[in-house]
């Protein structure tokens, strides 16, 4: 599939070597992230709402209560910027100026609109559950009509993206390498800890296989394998 094309709103001018427009890099970040920050404006006022999301092909999808302000505002197509950022490390240079962070981020631009047909909504919710906990959808009781009605699903086709990635150690001014200052990287990582059963868990229900080893970094490779 073609790369995304840089546009007026996504062309990265500063530190252009950090810019990426190829779908593999962009989708890998989107498939690993769990939280997106959705930016939109209501009467000129910007709002940024954190939400879980998932990717289906060229679309991003998220959901919530039909009553939420963000989702209500999106029942007509509205321009949004959906940003996913993964924060990989602190980069300590020999000067404050060259200190930085390692990160992978994607700003996705497009128009968000509600998914209204019930079958489409249900398929989207299944994809969301299966993405995070593969095999769980079949274990759950069916979604009721009322629940489906109370749930709002929003989708946006990704029109263009600004994707930036920084990796590696600090890059210092040549003369600063002689300084007696520690320099390097402190890697940061989101980890899943041991699953905690609910106090009212029915006796005898075992820990499902999808929770035996939750590796948040495997989401991206799993999504790739499914394509």
């Amino acid at each position: 599939m073609d790369d995304f094309k840089p546009t007026a709103r996504t062309r990265i001018k500063r530190l252009a070597k950090r810019a990426h427009y190829d779908r593999e890099t962009v989708y890998r970040i989107l498939d690993q992230g769990l939280v997106a920050h959705v930016g939109y404006a209501i009467a000129g006022q910007p709002y940024v709402t954190p939400t879980n999301y998932w990717r289906e092909g060229e679309r991003l999808v998220w959901h919530g209560s039909s009553a939420s302000k963000m989702l209500r505002s999106m029942k007509q197509p509205v321009p949004v910027c959906v940003t996913v950022s993964l924060f990989d490390g602190l980069v300590l240079a020999r000067s404050g100026f060259h200190s930085s962070v390692n990160y992978r981020s994607v700003m996705c631009f497009g128009e968000a609109a509600e998914v209204t047909d019930p079958a489409g909504k249900l398929a989207a919710l299944e994809a969301f559950v299966e993405r995070i906990t593969p095999g769980r959808w079949a274990e759950l009781r069916p979604v009721t009509k009322q629940e489906l009605k109370a749930t709002c699903v929003i989708a946006m086709t990704i029109d263009d993206v600004a994707c930036k990635v920084r990796t590696g150690g600090p890059i210092d001014d040549e003369e600063d390498y002689a300084l007696d200052v520690w320099a390097g990287v402190v890697p940061l990582r989101m980890v899943a800890e041991k699953a905690q059963p609910d106090a009212r868990l029915k006796p005898g229900v075992p820990l499902p296989s999808y929770l035996r080893h939750v590796d948040l970094e495997s989401y991206a490779s799993r999504a790739k394998a499914a394509e």
Copy 2:
């Protein structure tokens, strides 16, 4: 200090029990987060930019290159929404509908503007370095005039906030507790791994004390102690 007052843009109507407006809860989240998502609009187009930030009293502060589009757009005061979200766990209920996530989030509203006086900029940068790596500012060579000129510092006074916190296990429909479905919480946490020295680290420079045990959750308590 007074609590924040709910306003038209920050009053939380849905799941109001998750809403918090007291400064201690709000500031604790802001002081623990490392990345904020800054939302603003340029000619009606929303943008959401991830950035490191820090809190100084009632202000949020962030910085970047004087050349960046986001920061350039903020040389006049502009309305922004700065959102910090901490993602604490997956909440697996006995139904998809009641499954959720544990999180702490703050949407901060206000007007962002550049900090122009050099002494104020320098003090802000020191506060940023000291927040993450206490004791490091004194180890670094002084910031040059040119570096200070190339750095843009933005500050916003927090006018109002919408803060939401979800904690604890799933809350299921009463009849679903009889189902043979695993339910509980998968805690998620951002952790710092072992610091990796730069390949060109000067021999004999020891690992500084501020890197011996990086506990990302201690940032909030450290900020509280400094007040």
